[in-house]
């Protein structure tokens, strides 16, 4: 019983917070503004609690597994949720249904925790559903906007479709091997055509969730329509969680079929990077822009995953950590500006530096980090992903990835150019930043600058992933 509490600690804390919010909602005893502060404190506690009493082991006949690496991955997600709650303060304060929003978000987070920890295809499927359905409701949270509903509709339909595909794949696997356990499946795989087909179904479902090209079509619309809190949750927390699980699935469950999935990943990575980058160039809306940029980033994550070794695991976890800081900082700036001025277009950012130098530097740091320019952490993250991809010795692949960094630099520079260089007679007026927003931005900025230069972070993750 004691083991149950220590091993499932992360999930239990999140569940406790969800119930607490439920009671608060029912009792209606707390004012709206202090409620948000309370939630932020709870999320901080949730993040800090992730560092204590960590053990590895399995529960329920290894249906649920945990290890230091898995706990670390969960901590990244908790950190991201905490930062989102800070960064989107302005929007959250205006939301009528604040407890519900966080209940949904935390349910999704709970789903992701179980998903990362799953040791069985059944629990994996259940937790994946738990991780995606609340997000669709979150996408619908701008209740007055039609686009928000449209985004939610697209999201739920594509989620349902991908779940169907996933279930089909799982049933094929079960038919072939007669088991759903992650530990037992690899011994029964031999790479037959049917198994490859089952694998393709599974991979397609992952591709839907990760918005890998050609399964990315829902992404931009959902990102644009949803409130930025949801968008940043989708692009950071969801993506990160699915990337972690994809690694587990490929490295553990489908290890015998490495040759098959390596080729598939290479192809998917290349088209994802190229298409994501090329579409990002044309975007005007900052949310759509970040949507395509995050598609391209997923392409880079696939480069790291393709390595199939612990270098790949380290690089991906490290990159997701950095990506959390960078992408959230970019979304945070967009959120503040959108909430206070209603402007979401890149052209509106012209002349921003004159009025809001702090926001501009945070934005520049975030975008340079996404582009992979030192001294930001993104440089190290990208480089290690590419190094991991190079372990297989395919230099054409690596060259294409490296060349994609040029295209991505081009469009990130577009935003920086608008903010720093372009003249504008009527720039966005000086924005007064909420203390918690400022705190979150400073955390993100510090993360962007320090996670790369402090090399022990990487070495620590590497020691976990061995």
């Amino acid at each position: 019983m004691n083991e149950f509490f220590t091993l499932m600690k992360s999930e239990l804390v999140v569940t406790a917070i969800i119930f607490l919010l439920l009671f608060i909602k029912i009792s209606k005893g707390i004012q709206h503004s202090s409620l948000l502060s309370l939630i932020q404190v709870l999320l901080l506690i949730n993040f800090i609690a992730g560092f204590f009493f960590n053990k590895s082991g399995g529960l329920f006949g290894d249906m649920y597994q945990t290890s230091p690496l898995i706990v670390f991955q969960k901590n990244i997600l908790s950190l991201a949720v905490y930062l989102i709650s800070l960064l989107c303060t302005d929007w959250l304060k205006k939301t009528e249904h604040l407890p519900e929003f966080f209940m949904l978000m935390l349910s999704a987070l709970l789903g992701m925790f179980f998903m990362i920890s799953s040791g069985n295809l059944l629990i994996f499927y259940l937790s994946l559903e738990l991780a995606s359905i609340p997000v669709a409701a979150m996408a619908n949270f701008d209740l007055s906007k039609k686009r928000s509903s449209e985004g939610a509709m697209k999201m739920i339909l594509s989620s349902a479709f991908s779940s169907g595909i996933l279930l089909f794949g799982i049933s094929l696997i079960y038919g072939i091997t007669g088991t759903l356990s992650f530990a037992a499946i690899p011994q029964l795989l031999d790479g037959s055509t049917l198994q490859i087909m089952a694998f393709i179904f599974l991979l397609s479902a992952f591709a839907f969730k990760l918005s890998i090209v050609p399964f990315h079509l829902w992404t931009a619309d959902v990102y644009e329509g949803s409130p930025i809190a949801t968008t940043s949750f989708l692009s950071v927390v969801s993506k990160g969680a699915i990337a972690f699980v994809l690694m587990t699935a490929l490295y553990k469950v489908f290890a015998p079929m490495q040759d098959v999935w390596y080729t598939m990943l290479v192809i998917l990575a290349i088209i994802t990077m190229v298409i994501g980058n090329l579409f990002a160039i044309r975007q005007q809306n900052i949310k759509r822009f970040l949507a395509f940029s995050s598609i391209a980033q997923v392409g880079f994550i696939l480069v790291g995953i393709s390595s199939g070794s612990e270098i790949g695991i380290t690089a991906v976890v490290y990159f997701v950590l950095i990506y959390t800081f960078s992408n959230l900082a970019a979304f945070g700036v967009a959120a503040v500006i959108a909430e206070q001025t209603g402007k979401e277009n890149i052209d509106d950012y012209k002349g921003l530096y004159k009025t809001n130098p702090f926001l501009c530097w945070i934005l520049a740091l975030a975008l340079f980090s996404l582009a992979g320019i030192p001294p930001t952490a993104g440089f190290f993250g990208k480089l290690f992903l590419i190094t991991a991809g190079a372990t297989k010795g395919s230099y054409t692949f690596i060259t294409i990835a490296a060349l994609n960094m040029i295209i991505s630099l081009y469009y990130y520079l577009r935003v920086i150019r608008a903010a720093f260089m372009d003249k504008n007679d009527n720039p966005i007026s000086t924005i007064k930043l909420n203390a918690s927003v400022k705190l979150a931005m400073i955390i993100c900025g510090a993360g962007i600058l320090l996670v790369g230069l402090l090399s022990w972070v990487y070495d620590y993750i590497h020691s976990l992933s061995l």
Partner: protein, 492 residues
């Protein structure tokens, strides 16, 4: 001597600039910081000479090695040989001069100096790195300052130029990245230059990796036909930006071509030497002729930079010890000369508000100091004996002539011919701007250089003269290091 000072001091200066309250503080802190860097560079130079004089022949001196990303075998490995010391000296000269000529920057002064100092720090870090990963880090770190310096404080089509520069250099970096990853895996997972210099990389690998690395670094140093960012970038950048770009940043590429591509992949270098020679000969001639057509002073210097940097690539391609020494001398000489050239152009532009040769004339009468410096730098550019340009180019030609076959001889002669063209455009530019009658009435009220401009010019002129009159010290510094590289190429 602790080499980390070379990174720490500029970083400290930059942070101090960020924390300072007003423009005056910013300027004085930057000046003090850059003066301290100059002093540090001189200290390094003298300590290095002492060490060598006392018979310490270790290839790299003052080495330090700290594990950084130990699981990937990436180390914070530093050390200097003669080449690095010469480059560090060059950098410190240009940094001081750059800080001085920017004294009157009004727009966002703090940010300007911060980025400038950051750019300098990147160069110091690059020249002392002995680990390819760290080297690449410092090479790339300059992208942000360069882009913002040109884009915010530049002139003309600045956004276009800044974009072009950032993207082309990023392209070069992408090739370098693939190249160093190739080396990393080919040599058993090590980025360490000293280890890689002992490792044997198979021939077929060398033939793939060498072009990647050489072209990658070549983009930085205006290898033909990838030089197109040079004219736009240099002409759009603010004065100090141009000085840093041409004086320091282009040298990063040349240094990389030699230290990384040629030194670590000698077989590849032999295989592709002829192509390098052809490309650099084209660059030399093309640059010279293109300069003839320019009317804007900044474009004149930018295109002539393409031509002059071509000489150092030619020297590398010749693969003889003398030629490589000459190539390195040319890098130092060109760095000082081109920085001074841009500084003078900036000074003239601040007064006349034009950079068009045709609109000026007779500046010597009103601006004797600036015009004399312009004269000196022009003569240096066309290779007058007694100035640094002559020494460097002469050494390259002597080294090239050691190759006795027709191909090398023809390339050498072709390159040497460009000097005539250089003389034509330099003399014409000088004649039209500083000589003759004053064409514009408003020039009568111009004031000659202020103290900061004089100091900047004097520092750089001293450097040019020190190489031109007594090249021995530079030769002593560079030749042993070039010998190490030649030994590796010759296979000993």
């Amino acid at each position: 001597m602790n080499l980390l000072l070379l990174i720490g001091l500029p970083l400290l200066t930059a942070v101090a600039v960020l924390l300072s309250r007003n423009k005056e503080q910013v300027k004085w802190i930057s000046l003090l910081g850059s003066m301290a860097q100059l002093a540090l560079a001189f200290m390094l130079f003298f300590i290095f000479r002492n060490e060598r004089a006392t018979g310490n022949v270790t290839q790299m001196l003052f080495e330090q090695n700290y594990p950084l990303f130990s699981s990937l075998n990436i180390n914070f490995h530093f050390g200097v040989d003669g080449i690095s010391v010469a480059m560090i000296l060059l950098t410190s000269f240009v940094v001081v001069a750059g800080v001085l000529v920017s004294w009157n920057i009004e727009k966002m002064t703090k940010e300007f100096y911060f980025l400038l100092l950051l750019l300098g720090m990147g160069a110091y870090g690059f020249f002392i790195s002995l680990d390819l990963f760290i080297l690449f880090f410092f090479l790339e770190i300059s992208v942000i300052p360069k882009y913002l310096l040109i884009g915010i404080w530049g002139s003309g089509r600045k956004e276009y130029s800044a974009n072009k520069l950032a993207l082309m250099l990023m392209g070069g970096s992408a090739l370098i990245l693939v190249g160093i990853l190739g080396l990393y895996f080919a040599a058993g997972r090590s980025f360490d230059i000293m280890e890689l210099s002992k490792a044997t990389v198979s021939l077929s690998y060398q033939h793939i990796l060498f072009p990647l690395l050489f072209v990658g670094f070549g983009v930085f140093t205006a290898l033909f036909p990838l030089h197109t960012w040079v004219p736009d970038g240099h002409s759009s950048a603010p004065t100090a930006g141009s000085m840093f770009l041409a004086g320091i940043s282009m040298k990063l590429g040349g240094y990389g071509c030699l230290r990384v591509a040629t030194y670590l992949l000698p077989e590849g270098a032999k295989e592709f030497a002829n192509i390098i020679i052809i490309l650099s000969a084209i660059a030399i001639l093309y640059g010279a002729f293109a300069t003839m057509m320019q009317k804007d002073l900044k474009y004149i210097n930018a295109y002539s930079s393409v031509s002059h940097v071509g000489f150092s690539l030619l020297g590398i391609g010749m693969l003889t010890q003398t030629a490589i020494t000459g190539a390195l001398m040319q890098m130092v000489s060109h760095g000082l000369m081109t920085a001074l050239f841009f500084a003078v152009i900036g000074m003239i532009y601040d007064r006349t508000h034009t950079r068009m040769v045709g609109e000026m004339g007779g500046l010597m009468k009103k601006l004797p100091f600036i015009s004399s410096v312009f004269f000196i730098v022009g003569l240096c550019s066309l290779g007058l004996p007694g100035l640094s340009g002559f020494v460097a180019e002469m050494t390259i030609f002597m080294g090239s002539w050691e190759n006795t076959d027709a191909f090398h001889r023809i390339a050498t002669i072709a390159a040497a011919m460009s000097i005539v063209v250089t003389a034509v455009y330099i003399l014409r530019a000088i004649g039209n701007t500083v000589m003759g009658p004053i064409r514009n009435e408003s020039y009568l009220s111009l004031k000659d250089a202020a103290w900061n401009e004089r100091l900047a010019a004097i520092i750089l002129v001293v450097g040019i003269l020190a190489i031109g009159i007594a090249p021995g010290w530079l030769n002593d510094l560079l030749r042993p290091a070039a010998e190490e590289i030649m030994n590796r190429i010759a296979g000993n």
